[in-house]
């Protein structure tokens, strides 16, 4: 109990804090002293190319495995040591599709609810609310197989909210979707940040998904090259857009190494 009191007594508890996380697969360094934070009610973009270390970071945050060094906390709870409490506050949308195509939307939600210890009836009620939020209230009985890619993603977002997480992690959620579906998903997630004060970490390599007021973390070859509001990253790099800033930053990093 004292630990909880200690945590809550701080003025702002970060929704997610990644503190000096390093990880290597054998000799290959995947993450090198990565640190950043996501505040409650903020939309933070983790920007990086494929191979930047995003998936490793995701695996560490979701406790698939523990990093060689460093700490990840979700609302002050150490993911490695207090994983149950940390994971209870975390919602995740993986890059890969993780719905059972042969089961109905409702059945998929029921399974997820059960994994979080939520009974069938309560899951049904919460599921109806969340499906309504993502605009799929009438599809609960449909088999997932018959949904479009964008609809599946929205079901996955509704599912990730069933256990009322305060921090939401989305790994390239718009990959492979058309422009309309991408816009819908961004709108849903931005709505969650604005209305519910959920902290969101959104990984992408698409710069057009970033708004000026978003917090951006640029990850490149396992290192954080920039961390701050999109606007100031652009200004610091003396660039005209975040895309240009990203090129400047990552181009520079490559020059450093070689």
């Amino acid at each position: 109990m004292t630990v909880v009191a200690d945590v809550t007594s701080k003025a702002i508890v970060n929704a997610l804090s990644v503190e000096r996380v390093s990880h290597a697969y054998g000799a290959r360094t995947a993450l090198d002293e990565v640190s950043f934070k996501v505040e409650p009610g903020s939309f933070t973009v983790l920007l990086g190319l494929n191979g930047a270390g995003k998936s490793t970071l995701f695996s560490v945050i979701t406790h698939l495995y523990v990093s060689r060094s460093g700490v990840v906390r979700i609302f002050g709870r150490d993911v490695a040591r207090d994983s149950g409490a940390a994971l209870a506050l975390l919602g995740v949308v993986f890059q890969q599709r993780t719905l059972d195509p042969d089961l109905s939307v409702a059945q998929n939600l029921a399974y997820h609810g059960a994994l979080h210890g939520i009974g069938a009836r309560e899951t049904r009620e919460r599921g109806a609310v969340q499906l309504g939020r993502v605009g799929l209230a009438d599809r609960a009985r449909d088999k997932v197989r018959f949904l479009s890619g964008g609809q599946m993603r929205r079901v996955e977002i509704a599912r990730s909210l069933l256990h009322r997480p305060r921090m939401l992690l989305l790994d390239e959620p718009t990959a492979g979707l058309d422009i309309k579906a991408r816009a819908e998903i961004l709108e849903v997630v931005r709505g969650l940040v604005a209305d519910e004060g959920i902290g969101v970490l959104w990984t992408t390599h698409l710069v057009d998904e970033i708004r000026d007021e978003d917090h951006v973390v640029v990850l490149h070859k396992g290192r954080v090259l920039a961390d701050g509001p999109s606007r100031s990253i652009v200004a610091d790099a003396r660039a005209r857009s975040i895309g240009e800033a990203f090129s400047v930053l990552t181009g520079g990093a490559e020059g450093d190494e070689r």
């Binding site: 508890v13 697969y25 998936s55 695996s59 490695a80 059972d100 089961l103 004060g197």
Partner: protein, 280 residues
């Protein structure tokens, strides 16, 4: 205290009720998926039936089985190999569901499972029990067909008394598969598992021939059979079908279950296991 709300302090910890809901959900989903995959169900059923109708019928004259416990009379060869075929169903199922864990991991649904706040050993055990539930369904479907081939326990109670042995041997074989899936990368395709795990375990056991006959032909092979945990699965099921307990088999199967499952949980431990080595 808005902070308390933000940090989710109102959340109850994961208690017994939550764990039970979690277990039930995992078993329910696996069974539902199984019922949706009709090909898998049919092939799981056809495999032992081919052995029963073709192999056993062919060998009926060649291999007479003398009186030995638990049989108190001469039995047909089909009757003798039925427990072996039941265990084979479970062996296939155990390996298959563990292989599906590897694919699951790549497909993401394994990761879905592992982000549950429940302890990881509990999630893995639940997954194992789900596989056992599916294998028990397969076994009873097989037994129904075998009944019409006049292979039946001495009393109807046999169908009930065999159940605990099915659960235990299913757990052992599933845990073995889970352990293999975590340790051996080369076993990622099913052909490899067939050649290096399923065939040797099945043939070097008491599934197809009684150990005393093996002993006559090859003492060396008989020793291998005695060291093979699968032999004890078969014998446990054979005796349970006749409402008897083979204590040695029970001890071996229970002991192996604990060892295999413990090792699998260590292998899947976030801080060491192979998830880290393989992750990308």
């Amino acid at each position: 205290m808005t902070d308390a709300v933000l940090t989710g302090e109102e959340r109850r910890p994961f208690g017994w009720r939550q764990l039970l809901i979690c277990l039930y959900g995992i078993v329910w989903r696996e069974s539902l998926r199984f019922l949706h995959q009709r090909e898998r169900f049919i092939s799981a059923l056809v495999r032992p039936l081919v052995w029963l109708f073709i192999f056993a019928a062919g060998f009926r004259q060649t291999l007479g089985v003398s009186i030995m416990p638990p049989y108190d009379t001469y039995v047909l060869y089909e009757v003798y190999i039925t427990p072996g075929l039941i265990a084979m169903i479970q062996l296939f199922n155990g390996m298959q569901s563990s292989l599906s864990m590897i694919y699951d991991r790549e497909m993401g649904s394994m990761r879905m499972l592992l982000v549950s706040p429940a302890p990881r050993w509990f999630l893995l055990t639940s997954k194992l029990l789900a596989g056992v539930a599916v294998s028990v369904l397969q076994v009873y479907a097989f037994l129904i067909i075998a009944y019409f081939w006049e292979i039946e326990p001495p009393t109807w109670w046999g169908y009930l008394s065999v159940l605990p042995s099915l659960v235990l041997s299913g757990l052992m074989l599933g845990a073995l598969g889970m352990l293999l899936s975590s340790l051996i990368k080369q076993l990622e395709n099913f052909a490899g598992v067939m050649n290096f795990v399923i065939f040797p375990m099945f043939f070097a056991s008491s599934a197809l021939y009684p150990l005393w006959r093996v002993q006559e032909g090859s003492p060396w092979l008989a020793t291998v059979c005695r060291l093979n945990p699968f032999t004890y699965s078969v014998e446990l099921i054979r005796f349970a079908f006749y409402q008897e307990v083979d204590w040695l088999s029970l001890a071996v199967v229970a002991g192996c279950t604990v060892v295999f499952l413990g090792a699998a949980v260590i292998a899947y431990d976030p801080a060491r296991g192979m998830l880290m080595r393989r992750g990308g």
